[in-house]
Subunit: 671 residues, 3 copies
């Protein structure tokens, strides 16, 4: 059975720990910190995030001594360290001496110093000084016994619109398009007289400049994502020289809109991410996020680098996590592939803008708190699990595709509706499988589709070169494809396909999408199934479609396109390709995918009561069945008859029926 | 009977065609374009809009050859051309070489190059280069057999706040006010110490500068509208030198807030406009817009220069036009005076920000589409009508007044409510006549009122010199005037009249408006008619009024001003002047105007079922009765008994009852 | 009995008058002004506000002659003058010659000239020229018989972010923190590498700069409030040289967010303020505002410097004051301590942005208007009252605390909810006493608490040095303290207390607040009283609290913290300290404070029907009982049995029952 090696053989267990910023506190407190870390099994401290000025108070002066002390103390106490580079916020002296390190906003005007992630990713000074710091840290600490991983910078984000970026963008474009005529043609610049007659005329898509050219907007996003990645790579490479064996990563942020994490995933040794659900996220949305992160490196386990022990502070209303939810959501991560359960942060800062953000040690400094107790209980359990969950895989036969370029292109596109709802749509398709406990992998347009039996690509508006061909091959070989309205419309430069929609997917889908109607929120149409006569609400966008080889499975129920296809199937080779022409109510997806799963003989991990999630992970030590009760009430889960299981968290045998308290979790192995 | 000559005797039919941008496409497609144009009776192509960089890729290099080819090909295929100047978007090389051509935003900061209409209307370089291009186009193409009209630039819009504009504004003010004391007095600058002691102190009303001086705000709007018009005139004059006989125009945008189209109307040979109803516009609002455009040149027929064949793309939700609606709305335009039915655009661009906007040829390039078929059917019909509808007039006895200066002044005014609802109020008064099929002309403060029997001037807040006198004369001669609350308050400099409201209208109305109450949206009062006792809801603004010669017809029903006049009538000479003191529910206007029409013996064109519109147009060939079914269901229309009609679109005789299918249209002449 | 002297012994009556701007009008109208002032008993004219350019049209030319004339005419007509300095809006020539006088916006970019209060409070040129003008005015007019008070500038407001301010801020910080290490420690700058290594790195909290450091944000507010106060003081001191005996003040704006009026109050001779209730303010909110203003100088009577005679113009909907409301609200001010009833403004300006704002003389110039009549009637009454109401005090035993630093700190704080609702919460506590006619003083963190029996400090988030100690002493001496959730969290630098919340208040409250839950608007919990079992809704924020000596009086009804304390009482010394853990419905506060008043034997002034307010004022001439009917219907008020009163406004005796018409007022003294 396929499985992965532990990330660091010196720490072969689920990493329990989090961000630790001792440089904010007087030394007197450092001993107390270690005592409390031991008490709650805080095993891995992320050190050094944002510590730049503490490590380099002047350009020519470095002060690593306090970090030596901290690392030595942690090592002495049996703790490990994920050592961060501090480059997410440059010191004030740097912004003052080298103004080019400051980022410029969307009109091209430089920001003042302050906040964080306020650097230009193309600034030579920033790159030089950040890489120097990374090199010095690696040089000094690569052999330190506490250090088990490197954490480069923090939450790369945003974009810069300064002149340095503008110049670098022109170079980037010259490499991409080679000559200006090609760029003009691919960007369709004859529109509105936008044709460039010299490279020097190209500018970033300033908010008060050129935003009508969507190809420019999209390329600038690509460029900025790459430049930010160059920053990461420069630091990573500087570390690698001294520390060739420790894993190096940076922390990501779910479906973060500005960075193409799929490209980034190739440059990190392991995915790490920060999980901060928004107030209205459902459990399926959090599960999606974990699967999404696992997918970035094709199934490799990942690190939950940050989560709040109690509350966030930057949302409009910041609820406390209810008792048990921290534990539930931690195991939710593990159930989807996490090999770390880490927090932001160890000790709540006394000042500045995050002093209201949750932490293990709150301002009272006390450990007799609900939050501390929950962290300690979880730490104990995780310690007890040892390496039992490590290196696993999620055995998925269903894949759902996500693509940043596609997202950027849709967001840039004006019409037919303003809000395209791409991420929400991908999540909606995901949720139907989550409800059934059918494992799903999130894949990308460059993934190996052949590993799956069902491939779902909602709203595949932009098709990059080769993707349509690879999808067709997947179907021909027996795969089942599902795609939707708003697919196959533009190429990688956002240039509409000339043969009509869905462009290169027309052949595999056997349809032609003549028009797209946009419905107001209060408007709806219906999907009427031909065989059962069952009817479902749909809306948002309605593709008006002609079959060109496909079979119509359902037609619209209303309006002038009533009776035209809204659900089609096209048999191609050994497989089949489905097209859903409109945004359906979720009940439709439940029924539709229910049939496909049945046809494909894809079975749920377990059938559970609503609100109870079951996932499967398997590693060299065998299968693990996770049961997670997302409800705030006791629920009885029927286990497969005839089997006996060991409940790893309680160390007891169970069979037939497992009672799960509110927010409770069980991890079962076959006894 | 009065009627107008055809716009161009070489093309004496309703122009069917639209925007054509072959410079965006490879030459290979040009032949296919002409073939398809012939197929759908696309007779007139608007060429050259936004083609600047294609015609002048460098300051000293002109490339008209491709345009020669296109024009020759179109002529050879029997097509005509409305030839545009490309000045709505300057090339990047121009912004780069002459930064002063770029527009500055409301804080005075120049925008970056991009988008469109991003030029300073006072830039000497812009004006010079735009006029040069217009001259070169005219010189080269004025005798080309295909060219039947000139289209200058495109959708003039917005305003510039750069230093060049600031300097030009000072000169403009010096001409207007002659000396600074006069300006200070008229602008009431002693308020808040705003007195200018030198002309150089006057600046545009920057968003982060002087906006408390409303006279400044209004004068800056006047100035910018005039400067934009200067740009138009410079191009027009350059063309006229070579092409003295072809009509020259530019395309307008309904009640566009920034430009005083009434002043512009005097400088174009024919009104052309782009009809893009917003999502919640009613049929009466579209009818209003056509009447509005017809009114700009006192009843002269106009060109519908742009409409979308299927959907727009820039609204929040962009619905498709339902089958038949394109035809219905095209005839709606003709029924109100249009002599062109043209589209934006011929072929959907493959890239940039309008690639989701409707077109006759969509990205599929196919002609077997619903949209193409509807365009072709309409083209056939229009061709069949020949010149039958041309040169007509709408015989209106009712006029509704609109005035941009009045609008600007109300918008600038702080209090008594933020949203004044001027355009909505004018539309509300219009709708009551539209529902009855009573023809209405939209007039302006400088129009000849004597042509009408009823003159309605809602919310005539600002009275420019002479207007009150001309209104009084209109009434004295037997006219019926209707005006409302928020009238007669300020002079042309936004200086409040000293004798109390309604200022110079006090005498003709025979009232004094002591106070104005502003109601919250949830608050209402009532209009109680004295004779019938009927009661109507009113709100928004409530004028508290004293009769000074007028008779009270209705009083308020509630609040402390219950029992005071809300509807008055004042007999003056042979006429009467009505005052409506508050914003009424529409039912009030229906009843009120019903009585006036009865008194004045003004009859509807025809009484039709709700949702069916009837309009009358008459030209030298006789009367045309348009019947338009705005409903999505079949409706029976009773025709005047004893008459027999010819239905021009179906070429059949009808009498007594005419069935109209959903969205269907009939054009009847007496048989 | 304690009482205050009249503000100016030459004008020992309630000042009735308002803003008068004759410089906006032709001289021809000045005589008419005086005639009408006499007619409506407009006794005191505020002159010169915004007259700078009229007094100094060039830097070296002064034109006081028109002001001489006006003052002489007013004196001759027996009128008085509150003479203003014009510094609230500098002339255009000044902005042009000295660009540093212009204010910079939140990104540090200078505004253009215009509007008002558009000056940098740190500009040396502004300060020099403003002080020069104040000195010249004082020099010329200090002995003028009409002048009875000085009004410095107008409605100081906002903040500047220019480089001059930035430099001055650094000096201010150096004085405050002495060395940079202290500043770094107090501001917790090690967070996000914000440590400053040189003073020159500190910048204002630009909108596109450093706003994550809340201590910086708060200190910048302190700094700007002080700089603005420096401007005031410079003018005041210039006046004082010539005019040592006349009162000097400036007009304030209720709970204005940007200025710490408590600090300002020490520098004015009398509080003056401008009362413009917002559309949804309740009578209790207006009463609160007056008590708030009275509290700024510890009970000294104040001037109602501005109110509108009819309507405002800058709200979204500007209703007229209903008949009687102007009189009612004027006496409401007097009932809470006002010794002036003044208006903005005398004559409505004909142009600029306030031409729609109410005035005594509207554009009609007429005096036969409702508004003029109401002003005249009020003027007559006030004249008749003479000095009867002057110099009084409000005998309060209950104090509610307000603190600007606390407000700023809460507003700056990110989390646990975005909208903290501080002012609304203070008003909610106030309203429960207002409803009962129990007098309340608004106090500040530096007030003398010993004057009161009950001290209420809602949401006392920030505790400045010594405040907790003074509160504890207050309780120990027998006082009753009430405070709430979100108290005792940070010190004056916004640094969280280390011993847990409520920090230095833990001991006096006898509790520990472990966590704070934030509820979404649709979420609620319940407060369940232990003794009665009565249950109340609560929400917004829920403190989860442990008793450490306190007694639990009520517990939460729901959620995981059901059963934990939400209302506690701690007996300390001779007093008691209450803690309310969540935002309750108002009914809770009514019941809760009802019990406290009963325990403390604090009695209402009078028990009145709902909507009728009773207040008590007492001066050397005896007690005054004000009865104000805020309802629009007749109400009967039962007077204390056995007493006979004189009704000063009607000059009649009343006893037992007093009928009050809609909006009517009575002022009673014991007969």
């Amino acid at each position: 059975m396929q499985s992965f090696s532990p990330l660091n053989s010196r720490a072969p267990f689920i990493w329990h720990g989090g961000d630790y910023n001792p440089e904010q506190w007087p030394r007197a407190i450092w001993g107390e910190d270690i005592r409390l870390m031991q008490e709650c099994h805080f095993e891995v401290a992320t050190l050094g995030v944002f510590s730049w000025v503490s490590l380099q108070p002047e350009e020519d002066r470095f002060t690593f001594e306090w970090l030596d002390t901290i690392l030595d103390n942690l090592a002495a106490a049996g703790r490990f360290v994920c050592l961060a580079t501090p480059s997410a916020a440059q010191p004030a002296w740097m912004s003052q001496r080298y103004p080019d390190v400051l980022r410029a906003g969307e009109t091209g005007v430089r920001w003042h110093h302050g906040w964080r992630v306020n650097y230009c990713p193309c600034s030579a000074n920033y790159r030089r000084l950040a890489a120097q710091m990374a090199r010095k840290l690696a040089e000094r600490f690569h052999q330190h016994p506490a250090v088990i991983a490197w954490h480069v910078s923090n939450e790369y984000a945003g974009a810069c619109y300064c002149d340095v970026c503008a110049a670098a963008f022109r170079v980037w474009l010259q490499q991409r398009y080679a000559n200006l005529d090609v760029l003009n043609q691919r960007w369709w610049t004859a529109f509105w007289s936008h044709t460039y007659t010299d490279w020097s005329q190209i500018e970033p898509p300033y908010a008060n400049g050129e935003r009508s050219n969507h190809a420019l907007v999209i390329d600038y996003k690509r460029f900025q994502s790459e430049m930010m990645l160059e920053c990461y790579k420069a630091e990573r490479d500087a570390i690698r020289v001294y520390s060739p064996h420790l894993p190096i990563t940076t922390n990501m942020m779910n479906t973060y809109p500005e960075l193409d994490y799929r490209a980034w995933a190739k440059e990190v040794d392991v995915i790490a991410w920060d999980c901060y659900p928004s107030a209205h996220d459902q459990p399926s949305d959090i599960a999606f996020a974990h699967d999404f992160m696992r997918g970035l490196r094709d199934g490799q386990p990942f690190l939950l680098m940050e989560q709040t022990p109690s509350s966030q502070n930057w949302q409009e209303y910041n609820s406390l996590k209810r008792p048990g939810v921290l534990r539930l959501w931690s195991y939710l991560a593990v159930a989807h592939g996490a090999e770390a359960v880490m927090y932001f942060q160890w000790r709540r800062s006394r000042g500045e803008c995050e002093k209201m953000h949750g932490a293990i040690i709150e301002h009272s400094g006390r450990s007799d708190t609900r939050v501390f107790r929950e962290v300690r209980q979880l730490g104990e359990e995780l310690l007890r699990l040892r390496d039992r969950t490590l290196g696993g895989i999620t055995p998925s036969e269903v894949a759902i595709m996500f693509d940043w370029n596609n997202w950027w292109a849709m967001e840039a596109s004006i019409g037919p509706v303003r809000d395209k709802r791409y991420v929400a749509t991908v999540r909606q398709h995901y949720a139907t499988f989550w409800k059934r406990n059918v494992p799903v992998d999130i894949v990308f347009s460059d993934s190996d589709f052949s590993r799956y039996r069902v491939l779902i690509a909602p709203m595949l508006y932009m098709l990059k070169p080769g993707v349509a061909e690879r999808i067709r091959e997947f179907v021909r070989q027996g795969g089942t494809l599902v795609t939707t309205y708003f697919s196959g419309m533009v190429d990688e430069c956002d240039l509409a396909f000339e043969n009509g929609y869905p462009g290169p997917l027309r052949e595999v889908l056997g349809i032609w999408n003549e028009e797209i109607d946009a419905l107001h929120p209060e408007q709806h149409n219906r999907i009427v199934l031909h065989d059962s006569g069952e009817s479902y609400t749909c809306g948002h966008l309605c593709a008006i479609t002609h079959c060109e080889g496909a079979t119509t499975l359902a037609t619209y129920g209303d309006d002038f396109y009533a009776g035209t296809p809204v659900l089609t199937r096209h048999n191609v080779g050994a497989g089949a390709a489905y097209y859903i022409g409109s945004e359906p109510e979720s009940r439709f997806l439940d029924d539709f995918y229910g049939r496909i799963l049945q046809e494909q003989q894809i079975h749920p991990v377990l059938t559970t009561p609503p609100g109870v999630e079951a996932t499967l992970r398997q590693n060299a030590q065998g299968q693990l069945l996770f049961l997670l009760n997302h409800q705030d009430t006791l629920t009885q889960v029927a286990l497969p008859p005839g089997n006996r299981y060991r409940d790893l968290l309680r160390d007891r045998e169970v069979a037939e029926t497992l009672p799960l308290e509110a927010y409770d979790v069980a991890i079962l192995t076959k006894a």
